[in-house]
C-alpha cells in the first residue's frame, strides 16, 4: 500500500482519508463467545447485559441471512474486527480529545464553533464515543445525552427497561449480531414535558478498514417532551469491505415528539445494514429524516409502530446510488391503534449503474379504525445503466382506513432542461438545478450546515454527469 493509499488520498471518495491511530484494545478478527465475554468485560458491564449479549450471539449463529434484497455474499463475517477501543474514557472537553481524532474532524469540516450552536456533540470514533460535550442548560433540564455504554453504567434501570424491547435480537440476523457485540451509540432521555428546539447532534465514522461498527442507539422521549436528534456520517475510503450494522430504538411516549435525522455517506466499500425502529404512543409523533448517499450496499427500513390512538409517523428519505452502489431502503408504518396517520416520502436518484430500490410496508391492524397513510415514491434515473424498482407492501386488516400510494420513475425532463437552457444556463448547471430542486423537500428539513454539506455532496456526485 502506498503512502497516499494509507492516507486515503488516492481514492475518488471526497472524504476518503484515514488517520493513523493505534487502537488501544482490539479483539482481532472474527467472533466467538469468548470475544463477546471480552467485550462485556472490557466495558465492565452488569451481568444482565452480558446475558443479553450471549443470548443474542446464540440467536445470531442460528439465524439466516435476509432472504430478500441485495446480494450480501461479499461480507466476510470472519474477517471483521468486532471490537476496538481507541481512547480510555469519554472526553468531556474538546481539549481532551486526542489530536489525531481532532484532525479527522477538521478534515470532515466539523467546525469547533458548531458546538456553540449545537446542543451537545457526541462523536463516535471507531467503536466508542471519544468526545462528548453537553450544554449546561440541557443538563439543567434533566436531559440525558451520552454514549450508550455510559448509560448502561449510570442509568441501568432506564436502559434495561427499554433496551432491545422494540428490536429484539430475534428480529433479524444483523440485529442479533449488533445485540451481541454492540458498542457505542447514543443514549438520550428527555424528561416529561421538556422541549428542546436546538438539535442534538453527533458524528459517526468508521475508520480502520475491517472494523465493523455496531453502535446502539436508544432514545426515550417521555410524555409531552420533544427532541430533535441529528447524526451525520462520512467514512474514509478503504480497500476491504466494512460492515455497519447499527440498531436504533426510539420510544416516543404519550404526546411526545421526536425527529431523528440521519445523513449517511459511507464510502463505497461499506455494507450498511441497519435496523431502526420507533414506537409512538397516544398522540405521539415520530419523524424519520434519512439520507443515504454512499455505501456499497444499504439495507434500511426505518419503521414507526403507531401504538397509541392519534399517533403520527413520517419518513422523509433521499437515496443516491452511484457506480456499483445498491440502495435498498424504505420505511415501515405499522398502524396498531385508532386514528393513527403516517406519511412516507421517498426520493431516489441513481446514475453510473447504481441501483436504488424502494421497499416499504404499510400495515393497518384490526384495531386501526380511522387511520390514514400516504406514500409517495419519486425516482429520477440519470442514465441507461442505472435502475430502480418500487416494492410496496400493504397489509390492510381493517375496512375503515384509507391509504394513498403514488410512485413516479422518470428521467430528467427534456422540457425542464430546455426551459432552463433557453435562459442561458448550461446543460450541466441546469441538470444540477433540477436535481437540487428534486431533493429540496428533503434538504429544507435539514439543519443548515447539513443542507450545505448535502448539496455539496450531490454536486460532487453529479460532476461529469453531462457528457
Amino acid at each position: 500500500m502506498s503512502d497516499a493509499d494509507m492516507l486515503g488520498l488516492g481514492g475518488e471518495y471526497k472524504y476518503g482519508f484515514k488517520d493513523d491511530i493505534n487502537p488501544i484494545l482490539t479483539t482481532g478478527e472474527g467472533l466467538n463467545e469468548d470475544i463477546v465475554r471480552q467485550i462485556s468485560k472490557a466495558k465492565n458491564e452488569p451481568d444482565w447485559m452480558l446475558d443479553f449479549r450471549l443470548k443474542s450471539f446464540k440467536r445470531y449463529k442460528e439465524m439466516e441471512m435476509p432472504d430478500f434484497g441485495p446480494d450480501l455474499s461479499g461480507i466476510n463475517l470472519d474477517r471483521i474486527n468486532y471490537f476496538r477501543r481507541d481512547s480510555d474514557s469519554v472526553a468531556r472537553n474538546w481539549e481532551d480529545v486526542p489530536d489525531d481524532i481532532k484532525k479527522t474532524f477538521d478534515r470532515l469540516g466539523v467546525p469547533e464553533a458548531e458546538r456553540k450552536y449545537l446542543a451537545g456533540s457526541s462523536a463516535q470514533y471507531e467503536s466508542e464515543v471519544v468526545y462528548h460535550n453537553m450544554r449546561e442548560d440541557f443538563e439543567k433540564l434533566g436531559i440525558v445525552f451520552m454514549d450508550t455504554d455510559s448509560a448502561v453504567q449510570k442509568y441501568p434501570e432506564l436502559v434495561r427497561k427499554y433496551f432491545g424491547k422494540l428490536i429484539p435480537p430475534s428480529d433479524n440476523k444483523f440485529a442479533a449480531l449488533n445485540s451481541a457485540v454492540w458498542s457505542g451509540g447514543t443514549f438520550i432521555y428527555v424528561p416529561k414535558g421538556v422541549k428542546t428546539e436546538v438539535p442534538i447532534q453527533s458524528y459517526f465514522r468508521i475508520n480502520a478498514g475491517n472494523s465493523g461498527q455496531f453502535e446502539r442507539t436508544l432514545i426515550i422521549v417521555d410524555e409531552g417532551a420533544s427532541v430533535n436528534y441529528v447524526e451525520g456520517c462520512t467514512a474514509p475510503n478503504y480497500s476491504e469491505d466494512s460492515l455497519h450494522a447499527a440498531v436504533v430504538e426510539v420510544n416516543v411516549l404519550k404526546d411526545a415528539y421526536c425527529r431523528y435525522t440521519t445523513i449517511q455517506n459511507w464510502s463505497d466499500n461499506v455494507y450498511s445494514l441497519e435496523t431502526k425502529r420507533a414506537q409512538a404512543l397516544e398522540n405521539g409523533t415520530m419523524e424519520w429524516v434519512d439520507g443515504n448517499l454512499g455505501s456499497k450496499v444499504t439495507m434500511k427500513y426505518p419503521s414507526v409502530y403507531l401504538n397509541g390512538r392519534g399517533a403520527h409517523g413520517t419518513m422523509l428519505s433521499i437515496a443516491f446510488a452511484g457506480k456499483d452502489i445498491v440502495s435498498d431502503t424504505g420505511a415501515r408504518m405499522i398502524h396498531n391503534a385508532k386514528d393513527t396517520s403516517s406519511s412516507i416520502v421517498s426520493k431516489s436518484l441513481c446514475k453510473d449503474g447504481g441501483r436504488v430500490d424502494y421497499r416499504g410496508k404499510v400495515r393497518f391492524a384490526r384495531n386501526s379504525d380511522g387511520s390514514f397513510s400516504h406514500v409517495e415514491c419519486d425516482t429520477i434515473i440519470l442514465d441507461e445503466k442505472s435502475a430502480s424498482d418500487t416494492i410496496p407492501f400493504n397489509e390492510i386488516k381493517n375496512g375503515n382506513v384509507s391509504m394513498e400510494h403514488e410512485a413516479k420513475v422518470s428521467k430528467i425532463s427534456e422540457e425542464q432542461l430546455y426551459y432552463l437552457m433557453s435562459r442561458g444556463i448550461t446543460e450541466e448547471k441546469a441538470t444540477e438545478m433540477i436535481i437540487m430542486g428534486f431533493v429540496e423537500p428533503f434538504t429544507k428539513e435539514l439543519p443548515m450546515e447539513y443542507a450545505v454539506e448535502l448539496n455539496r455532496l450531490i454536486e460532487y456526485q453529479m460532476e461529469g454527469s453531462v457528457g
Binding site: S413, Q416, R423, G424, I425, K429
Partner: protein, 259 residues
C-alpha cells in the same frame, strides 16, 4: 445594433413539415409581430429559432448578426442574445424563481464575477414592481402552481432581468385578462430601445394596441404571406384570415375553418 435573420427556414416535427420556407429580417430597435391563424407554424418558428430538440430544421438558416446559430446548443443561443417567452413554460419544483433568475444572469457573467445577491435583489424588487408582482413570487418554486397569468408575467420578468438582444414572445397574451395584458405590455414597452428587438407572436390584434409593432407579418401554411405596418393587423381584425387568404389566392385550409 444587432440583426436577426431567418432565411428559407424549413422545419418539421415528428416527420411532418410545418415551416415551408420562412424569411424574416429584423434588427434591434424594432418590434415585429407575427400574426396568423391556429396551426400555421407560428410557435414552430419560435421554438426552432430557440432550438427546442423536438423541432428539426431540414433546410435554411437563422442568422444572429450574420452568424448561423442553428448548430449552437440552446444555452449558447440564449447567451448570444436570444430569449423566448414561452407559451407553456416548464415547472421546476424545488428551484425558487429568484434562484433561477440569478442563475440565468450569472450564466452570462464571468464565473468569478457573479452579480451580488444584494444588487440582484434590488433589481428584482424593482422589476417585479413594474409587473405588479408580489414579493412572494420570488420565493415560489419556478412556475409550480402558477396561474396562467402568473406564468406570463414571470416570463416577462425574466425577459426584463436578463435583457436579451432579441425576445420572441409566443402568445404572451393568451389567457390574460385586460389588466394583466396591460401590465405585461408595460414590461415589454419598458424594454423598447435601440438595444432591444422583439418578435411578437399573436392571434389577435388586441395585444398590438398596447405594444405597437413596426412591422406586421402574416403567416399561413408555414410561410409568411404578407407584410405591412400596424394597419395590417387592424385589417385582419376586421376581415379575418380567410379574407386575406382568398385575396392572395392561397390554397390553404385554416384549422378552425368549418368544412
Amino acid at each position: 445594433m444587432s440583426t436577426l435573420e431567418v432565411k428559407d427556414l424549413h422545419v418539421s416535427i415528428d416527420g411532418k413539415n410545418i415551416l415551408k420556407g420562412v424569411n424574416l429580417k429584423m434588427q434591434t430597435g424594432e418590434i415585429h409581430a407575427i400574426m396568423g391563424p391556429n396551426g400555421t407554424g407560428k410557435s414552430t418558428l419560435s421554438e426552432a429559432i430557440m432550438g427546442h430538440p423536438a423541432y428539426k430544421v431540414t433546410k435554411g438558416e437563422v442568422l444572429l448578426n450574420g452568424e448561423n446559430i442553428l448548430e449552437l446548443p440552446v444555452d449558447e443561443r440564449a447567451r448570444a442574445g436570444l430569449f423566448l417567452a414561452m407559451q407553456y413554460p416548464a415547472e421546476i419544483p424545488g428551484v425558487t424563481n429568484a434562484e433561477f433568475i440569478r442563475g440565468a444572469i450569472n450564466a452570462r457573467l464571468p464565473e468569478d464575477k457573479p452579480l451580488s445577491v444584494r444588487n440582484f435583489l434590488k433589481r428584482l424588487d424593482k422589476t417585479m414592481g413594474v409587473l405588479d408582482m408580489t414579493d412572494e413570487m420570488a420565493d415560489r418554486y419556478l412556475n409550480e402552481g402558477f396561474s396562467g397569468g402568473e406564468k406570463k408575467r414571470n416570463e416577462i420578468l425574466q425577459l426584463m432581468m436578463i435583457k436579451p438582444k432579441f425576445a420572441i414572445l409566443d402568445e404572451i397574451d393568451s389567457g390574460l385578462d385586460i389588466d394583466a395584458l396591460k401590465v405585461v405590455s408595460r414590461g415589454v414597452n419598458q424594454m423598447r430601445g435601440p438595444e432591444f428587438g422583439s418578435l411578437i407572436i399573436t392571434h389577435y390584434q388586441r395585444l398590438l394596441n398596447y405594444i405597437v409593432p413596426d412591422v406586421v407579418h402574416v403567416m399561413m401554411g408555414g410561410r409568411i404571406v404578407k407584410q405591412g405596418g400596424p394597419e395590417l393587423a387592424k385589417r385582419l381584425e376586421d376581415e379575418g384570415y380567410a379574407g386575406l387568404r382568398d385575396e392572395l389566392g392561397l390554397d390553404i385550409k385554416l384549422v378552425d375553418e368549418e368544412a
